[in-house]
């Protein structure tokens, strides 16, 4: 994925979420705002052979993976035109046919599932990588240890990507997790690992490419920690606990502005080009909203559909 495509993908996520949040009916959401580079950089290292799982902070990962924005918006707004017919929502968004095996909203809950998907792929001799994006909060769970142990033991094709935004709702990472770097957690399992600046999309992409190549070679799992910043509250249902003064400094680290500035300095991005990207992204989001709004809510009779 070229540098401009990385920028556009991040811009789409940001604009998509802003448009969603302007709606009074936005529902229960966990936004990827500030963490776009983690999703976009990771997905830039994945191919159509691969699949992605994520935490419930799924909007960034799903759009970065290339899911159509219209159906994603429909899913978030509970409309039947979503890939899960509007019943999964943000927490359980999934479209396996598009390389997104899906979100799972239990912290750490997707880690052993991802290892199981990787086990199936290994058993079937499939070529791809199974990537799983999870938060720093999941690093305190036994599920991560269990998944790393078995993935290393069985050389499963699993790329673990920790989006370390530094907070478990209101608890700072330093009060929840003992290791100095979260990638240190991978060391006893002898899998290659890296910690990168998660606000730098190129750094994330390059590290993800290198680690994905290791996984792709059949040598077993790898671990990538991306140190990021959460721009919004943990979720639409939680309160901001960070002081205003700190927030200004956090927002100043915007991964989109940073990448754009780099491209401008390199001469790759001009004023006109940037304006064009902004228009395209705005149009895409407007289309997505129209698509979602034109789709119905489920019929109440659907409540028992696909239960067993």
């Amino acid at each position: 994925m070229d540098a401009l495509a990385l920028l556009e993908s991040m811009m789409l996520i940001r604009a998509f979420e802003e448009a969603l949040m302007r709606r009074p009916d936005h529902g229960f959401q966990l936004l990827s705002s500030g963490e776009e580079a983690v999703a976009v950089g990771t997905c830039a290292a994945l191919t159509s052979d691969d699949t992605l799982l994520s935490s419930g902070r799924s909007i960034g990962p799903a759009l970065a993976r290339g899911l159509e924005p219209g159906p994603v918006m429909a899913e978030l707004l509970g409309r039947t035109a979503g890939p899960c017919r509007g019943r999964g929502g943000r927490g359980h968004l999934a479209q396996p046919s598009a390389g997104y095996f899906g979100a799972h909203a239990v912290v750490g809950g997707n880690l052993t599932i991802a290892a199981g998907v990787a086990l199936a792929w290994q058993a079937e001799g499939r070529p791809g990588v199974v990537a799983c994006i999870f938060g720093d909060g999941a690093c305190g769970s036994g599920a991560l240890h269990e998944a790393m142990n078995v993935a290393a033991l069985w050389k499963l094709p699993l790329l673990l990507v920790c989006d370390n935004n530094g907070w478990s709702v209101s608890t700072p990472r330093a009060e929840a997790l003992a290791p100095e770097r979260l990638s240190d957690l991978a060391a006893p399992f002898r899998m290659p690992s890296a910690t990168v600046d998660g606000m730098d999309v190129v750094a994330v992409r390059d590290a993800a490419l290198a680690l994905a190549a290791h996984v792709r070679s059949g040598a077993g799992p790898a671990f990538l920690e991306c140190v990021s910043e959460r721009f919004a509250t943990h979720s639409t249902a939680t309160r901001e606990t960070r002081p205003q003064a700190e927030m200004a400094a956090i927002l100043a680290r915007c991964p989109i502005r940073r990448h754009a500035a780099r491209l401008e300095a390199e001469g790759t991005l001009t004023e006109a080009l940037r304006a064009g990207l902004e228009r395209d992204v705005a149009d895409t989001v407007a289309d997505a909203l129209r698509y979602a709004e034109s789709a119905p809510f489920p019929d109440v009779a659907d409540a028992l559909r696909d239960v067993v």
Binding site: G88, A94, P96, V106, G109, V117, N149, V307
Partner: protein, 329 residues
């Protein structure tokens, strides 16, 4: 003369029935794998996986670390991605560690993805008291029957152990297969032309006109002992083996109870929100009125102390007493 050389039934032990079903399923379907503690060369805690490692190798019959959350998670995830794993959780008590992937992911997967994915995993686990103490003895299958998307089966005979394993492996979603420590050494017959036991179908094990006993798993044998004693007292018991706990076959219990006019439920687990409570209420919903009594464990943990264990789980005495109390004019 083939009927003389090939008898129509074979005799086998409960544990053998499980291994035979798995061997047949694995031979037919390369997607079936077995994951769990001691399932490989060791052949399973009760030899119920005997011979599978030798026949299918370590990649299809995998010993796992002792980590139930990941054992179930791996099975559910692999099922979602196209395999048909059987995950062995040695004792049902340990299934608590693996409930998150089973309940929060596997059971809801078809629903939450709008039918895009399913998780056809069989979680096989062993319940029941046999001298192993408070965290190796529990019968907590009733905790699972209220989970939408989850099926629960509990065979009581070798034939059903075979037939329900085959049926579970043909399901589109997750099935918890609950067996019992005291059933493994029991023997029974399996017809040569046996077919899978349909999930959701109870069976009448013993005919009798005076009272219906609805039960499952090892308690079917306890019910039968009680019925022998009651027969000597002139009371004829009809025993319904539920076989599947989710979905429950209420109709078969209702038909029997409508005939006998009295229903005793019997389970080794706790009575509060138990299988008996569910069966009894649903039978009453359908029949209007019904004399009902429940028999289950004392509201206490199951100790490894033999005196306390015997005191806390139901035996024939408690069943006889419950039946006589219910039928007393």
């Amino acid at each position: 003369m083939s009927s003389e050389t090939t008898p129509p039934v074979s005799k086998l032990f409960f544990a053998e029935a499980i291994a035979r079903a798995l061997h047949e399923a694995m031979s037919r379907d390369p997607r079936v794998i077995v994951l769990g503690q001691d399932v490989g060369r060791y052949g399973g805690p009760y030899r119920e996986f005997s011979g599978l490692h030798a026949a299918f190798g370590g990649r299809r019959v995998r010993d796992t670390p002792v980590a139930e959350a990941s054992m179930v998670g791996l099975g559910v995830g692999a099922a979602a991605a196209g395999l048909r794993p059987v995950v062995s959780i040695t004792y049902m008590d340990f299934l608590l560690l693996g409930l998150d992937p089973l309940v929060n992911y596997g059971a809801k997967l078809r629903y939450k993805t709008g039918g895009q994915l399913g998780a056809p995993v069989v979680v096989k686990t062993t319940a029941g008291a046999r001298g192993q103490g408070v965290a190796h003895s529990q019968c907590i299958e009733s905790w699972l029957v209220g989970v939408p998307g989850l099926k629960v089966v509990a065979p009581s005979t070798p034939a059903d152990a075979w037939g329900l394993m085959h049926a579970a492996l043909q399901e589109d979603g997750p099935v918890v297969y609950v067996d019992h420590k005291r059933l493994f050494p029991t023997a029974g017959e399996l017809a040569r032309d046996a077919v899978p036991v349909p999930i959701g179908r109870a069976v009448v094990r013993r005919r009798g006109a005076d009272v219906t006993i609805a039960t499952h798993s090892y308690m079917c044998r306890v019910a039968d002992s009680a019925a022998d004693r009651l027969a000597a007292l002139g009371v004829a018991c009809e025993i319904v083996d539920l076989r599947t706990l989710a979905p429950l076959d209420v109709d078969t219990v209702c038909e029997s109870a409508a005939r006998t006019g009295a229903l005793v439920t019997l389970e080794e687990g706790q009575l509060a929100c138990g299988i008996g409570a569910e069966v009894a209420y649903r039978v009453r919903e359908k029949t209007g009125t019904m004399r009902v009594a429940r028999v289950g464990a004392l509201p206490a943990p199951v100790s490894s102390n033999p005196v306390l264990e015997a005191a806390s789980v139901p035996g024939p005495d408690e069943v006889v007493e419950a039946v006589r109390g219910l039928l007393r004019p």
